[in-house]
């Protein structure tokens, strides 16, 4: 126990902040992108829907290293798009914090999209029709009726997205690398210190990750549970 306390005093806390920052930014991007994609996809007929849905869900099903491979292919500074970004906008993705965000967003986005889509599909279409006949704009129908009604599903999607984005390892290590203080996330730090045989530091980070993960799930249950009061038990 004393070892833990000593460790906490001398520890480099940067991985936690990098992970949290990455998680927050990736969640915000995924949130809007996921809602937007879900709304677009549910309006398509089922054939287009299955194809779009497959593409949007792929990053969740693929091994993160495969996603990382594709991301490198796109953003590498030796590839056309990477060169274009670097030369035109002075933007570098590989081995930067931006890489962390992109990797985490790509991997976590499907969780947001799928949860939002499932929640939207449960919505009574009459609510939207009623909004229209009452003269409400599509924008305000979406933000004032659809999103609040789909609230619990969207909330749990957001939290899952955050948890997944924070814990991302595979694609991040390939695209952003593990540069301490810059792209070194908690998951990468754990892998690194274990390679050095430092189980105490690894254990310390594991505990922190466990606490955050449990808190996320607890939060989901609190939010969705409030709306489930009237559901009959079986």
């Amino acid at each position: 126990m004393n070892g833990f306390i000593d460790l906490a005093k001398t520890l480099d806390w940067s991985p936690l902040w990098i992970s949290l920052k990455t998680g927050v930014v990736a969640t915000i991007i995924s949130f809007f992108l996921g809602l937007w994609a879900a709304r677009k996809v549910i309006r398509r007929d089922y054939r287009v829907k299955s194809i779009l849905d497959g593409i949007l869900t792929l990053p969740m099903v693929l091994p993160p290293t495969v996603a990382g491979f594709f991301l490198l292919l796109i953003f590498s500074r030796r590839r056309p798009f990477g060169i274009f970004l670097n030369d035109t906008f002075d933007i570098q993705v590989v081995h930067t914090w931006l890489g962390c965000i992109i990797a985490a967003t790509v991997i976590a986005f499907p969780l947001m999209y799928r949860n939002a889509r499932a929640a939207f599909e449960q919505i009574d279409a009459n609510l939207v029709y009623a909004g229209r006949t009452l003269g409400m704009s599509e924008f305000s129908i979406f933000w004032r009726i659809v999103v609040p009604t789909a609230g619990p599903g969207i909330a749990s999607g957001t939290i899952l997205t955050f948890a997944r984005a924070m814990g991302e390892y595979g694609a991040t290590s390939m695209l952003a690398g593990n540069i301490p203080g810059k792209t070194g996330t908690v998951s990468q730090r754990i892998a690194m210190v274990i390679q050095d045989g430092d189980y105490l530091t690894a254990g310390f980070w594991v505990v922190i990750v466990l606490i955050i993960a449990f808190f996320a799930i607890f939060l989901i249950n609190m939010i969705t549970g409030k709306h489930m009061k009237n559901v009959r038990k079986w």
């Binding site: 609510l127 029709y129 003269g135």
Partner: protein, 350 residues
Amino acid sequence: MKRLHADIHRRIGGFDLNVLIESDASRIGILGESGSGKSMTLKSIAGIEAVDSGHIEVDGRVLYDSSEKIDLKPQKRNVGYMFQNYALFPTMSVLKNVMAGLGKRNEENRSRAMDMLKRFRMDGYEDKLPGELSGGQQQRVALARIMVTDPALILLDEPYSALDSYLRDRMQVEMLEMLEDYTGQVVMVSHSRDELYRFSEELFIVSEGQIIRHGETKSVFRDPEHEIAARLTGCKNFSAARTVDEHTVEASDWGVTLKLEREIPSDITSIGYRAHCFEPVWGERQENCIRFDLLRTDDLPFEKNYYIRTVNDDSPVCWFVQGEEQRIIDERGLPDYLKIKEEQVLLLKQ
């Protein structure tokens, strides 16, 4: 001059909708079975269901015209629509629901919404969520939410189907009261003849995507002209008809030849007779009588249903007896014949 004109053509899957609703009545009814296209007609007028071709005009304003390529968004149609399940926004309070169609959430709109809630005796409930209200209260809020936007036309889609039977009776009366001050036209769609008989001045009967009969409500009930229309207005007894001469027709399923004073059109295919309209006859057989050969009896709270065997075993004739008439039968015993009264005979086409 208020006038609804809705000429709607739509083909979807194997279903064809071709209806023309044209009326200047303030209360219009559309009667039809589920799947007949009556709800689709209503949704097309509101613009929430697409139309292939036609012309929709409310109060002199064209909402849709395929040849002129006019197709106003539902937001621009100024048509109020009450959904079967009321479609109140579940996460908004009653007051916010009523304000939803008013745009800005300012003090002026707030007081307009409150006035409307007061008019519908829903003040005091403004902070409740729709889920906390009873069915009847939800309906009042739904109507308040529509009325506050001052629509040119109100559409009611099976407004009582979500209510239990006690509330249904009460809300039918209440609905007429709530709409009393409304000067625009109201269209109600229903499969219930009672609701529409009470509500509408002009009635359209729709079957398989076609209007098969329309006219002043009472005259449609008096003479439905069409077998399906007769069935929808509650006629229970039908027989195939074979015209013998201008005043004689054979009701072959009942095994009786009817002699009528009025002239019988040669194109009729069946005869309808309402179950409440038979006249019991004891003793001698009279003209236009069928033999009272009892098959079975059903007891209902306020009436007795007698089923009488006929030539056609598949379609016994039903005779519904209430009150005074039942007392006479209890005294004199079951009649020997049932007389078909000429003025109640419905001459029908397929």
